[in-house]
């Protein structure tokens, strides 16, 4: 029993980096942040334990308004992405064949070869008052003056949905591809119509993929910073922006840490609820993404 068996040694060698990674980059930093969120500045460089940061959140309607707003918009973006992506995922997985399919798959990946910044820049060029689309509207006589398409909540949604489509498409395509055509044929052969097949066969089969896609998209939108900040209008508060502001422009790490924790809590809660409702398991769903 002195010395390690090769098997044990291998296990430890594999475990060490994994544990270091999780401990040093995930667990401890977040614990640290938790601790920061539980203190209050009482003087220059002096802090005391307090729930003040959390109290502030609940007492200040601004903050929880932003919080709710972010969550709601993220949910809407998730649903939109699902609805928009589903027919396309279906077409790629089930209808298109050979070259066409490969081409469409490549095209879905295309936007994600460019960074989020580039995509946002593209939307700016397209949507701004003097941009391409308002110009086009004017040209075809739809409007007399340039319309401002930027700085609306709808604009944020467009940007968010656009940025997250891939993360919806890929799990959906994967899930739909594993659906055996003969199941659909069998259901049809037994007298099912399209809607019914969708409801009884396709959606139950694709549920894990749908869950995975929705979780990914929801998390990405909830945690997005760039799109809401750049495309959003004068009232568009995004919770990550609030966190950023607290940390960076207000130097109020305590408040920022509390907000970050609240956001983490919110996302975990919503993901958990989503999984519960659809009867999926976190590990299974995430492994499909």
């Amino acid at each position: 029993m002195n010395g390690l068996s090769p098997k044990k040694l291998t296990l430890y060698l594999l475990l060490a980096p994994a544990i270091l990674w999780l401990l040093l980059l995930i667990v401890l930093p977040h614990t640290g942040m938790g601790i920061i969120s539980l203190r209050e500045r009482v003087g220059p460089g002096e802090f005391a334990f307090s729930f003040k940061q959390y109290m502030t959140f609940f007492e200040e309607p601004l903050y929880w308004n932003t919080f709710v707003r972010t969550a709601v918009m993220s949910l809407i973006a998730t649903v939109l992405a699902l609805v928009l992506a589903f027919p396309v995922a279906w077409t790629i997985a089930k209808v298109a064949k050979g070259r066409m399919k490969a081409l469409m798959l490549a095209a879905t990946l295309l936007p994600f070869w460019a960074s989020e910044l580039v995509r946002t820049l593209g939307w700016l060029i397209l949507l701004r008052g003097s941009g391409v689309i308002p110009g086009f509207f004017q040209m075809i006589g739809l409007t007399n003056e340039p319309v401002e398409l930027l700085y609306h909540d709808a604009t944020i949604l467009v940007g968010l949905v656009y940025s997250s489509l891939l993360f919806m498409l890929v799990p959906l395509i994967n899930a739909l591809e594993t659906l055996d055509d003969s199941l659909i044929e069998a259901a049809y052969d037994l007298g099912g119509n399209r809607f019914d097949i969708l409801r009884r066969i396709v959606i139950p089969h694709a549920a894990p993929g749908i869950a995975a896609g929705c979780i990914m998209v929801f998390m990405l939108t909830l945690g997005n910073y760039l799109t809401p900040v750049v495309l959003g209008g004068k009232s568009s508060m995004w919770f990550t922006e609030q966190i950023y502001t607290q940390f960076i422009t207000r130097f109020n790490w305590e408040q920022g840490a509390a907000f970050a924790f609240l956001l983490l809590g919110l996302s975990s809660l919503l993901v958990w609820a989503g999984l519960k409702i659809t009867g999926q398991r976190f590990a299974d769903a995430m492994r499909r993404t």
């Binding site: 460089g45 701004r128 008052g129 003097s130 004068k234 607290q246 207000r250 130097f251 109020n252």
Partner: protein
């Protein structure tokens, strides 16, 4: 290493040509990171004053963070060619950035916050004019503390005087905030990026906005109808400084850069790129005639006297501003 100067500064304060020239003269490469006042402080706070050798914060933003976070080291004035600076400016900066008998900043540029107005389409003359219904949807301000301060002055209050009295300050700021909330419908947006605003003024989407002078004059060169106007209640004057982070690695290079920039010819180049005025003696000799004219037009002597210079901000005040700003943003 010794051959690199890590500079954290504003856009346009280190134009490529000047960086190249510095390298040629001293062999030191300058790594430029663009930033603004808040981010400079955040960055340095996170690094504990390391990571950069030289920064250019505004003079009112030095003592607070220096005290709270210890991110700056005192300037050794012996290593600075003080003769290059306009004495009055140097003295006032020394005062504003002084803490426990030590000086933490030397001035570089100064400028003002005021109004950029498309005179063909708008007659706005004070901050409050931005809220006039006739310009609905065509004005813009930044959602930052200068906006609040400006509004406060426009309302006839003096927030600078209230710096020492947080209660009073908070009341002033809340009042300014309410004013802006009422005004919000009138605004096209709260502008975030300089470029965004300049573009929209250029193509007429915005006719009047709160902005600093350099942007206004830049547009003025392109289109004479666009002017920088010192508001009736007074333009807000700021001074950007050199400050050295507490854990700067290449302090020598930092002084070299300070002394390099404070050479009148170089200062003028930078001034041209930034569109601001220097605190350097004799730089005006190298300065653009156009800019001089623009300055004269925007600042008649009375307006010049009426400039409200930012005093140093005591720590904690910004939390008050922050809440007000958040409230404005959230309001409908």
């Amino acid at each position: 290493d010794d051959q690199v100067l890590r500079l954290l500064t504003w856009a346009d304060y280190a134009p490529q040509a000047v960086v190249d020239q510095f390298k040629k003269e001293t062999g030191i490469t300058v790594e430029v990171t663009l930033s603004n006042n808040e981010e400079m402080i955040s960055k340095l706070r996170a690094t504990g004053g390391a990571g950069f050798d030289l920064v250019n914060p505004s003079q009112d933003r030095i003592t607070g963070p220096a005290k709270e976070f210890g991110i700056y080291q005192p300037i050794d004035l012996k290593k600075v060619k003080v003769a290059n600076f306009i004495p009055s400016m140097l003295e006032s900066t020394k005062k504003v950035t002084g803490l426990d008998g030590k000086v933490y900043g030397v001035p570089l540029f100064w400028g003002t916050d005021g109004l950029v107005v498309n005179s063909a389409k708008s007659k706005a003359a004070d901050y409050s004019d931005l809220c006039k219904a006739e310009y609905a949807g065509k004005t813009a301000v930044r959602l930052k503390r200068p906006t609040l301060i400006g509004q406060a002055f426009a309302m006839g209050k003096d927030p600078f005087k209230a710096y020492a009295n947080p209660k009073q300050y908070e009341a002033i700021m809340n009042a300014a905030g309410d004013k802006l909330i009422a005004c919000k419908k009138n605004l096209k947006y709260f502008w975030e990026s300089k470029d965004q605003l300049l573009n929209d003024i250029r193509n007429g989407e915005v006719v009047a906005a709160q902005m600093w002078d350099a942007g206004g004059w830049k547009l003025n060169t392109e289109n004479a109808a666009i002017k920088f106007v010192a508001p009736k209640s007074g333009a807000l004057g700021w001074v950007d400084t050199f400050a050295i982070p507490s854990k700067a690695k290449n302090v020598d290079a930092a002084y070299k850069w300070i002394n390099f920039i404070s050479r009148p010819d170089v200062a003028a180049k930078v001034a041209k790129s930034a569109g601001s005025f220097t605190a350097i003696k004799g730089a005006e000799n190298y300065m653009d005639a156009v800019m001089k004219k623009q300055l004269a037009e925007s600042f008649p002597p009375a307006a010049m006297k009426n400039i409200k210079w930012y005093p140093a901000i005591p720590a904690g005040l910004e939390e008050i501003d922050g809440k007000v700003l958040d409230k404005i943003k959230a309001a409908n």
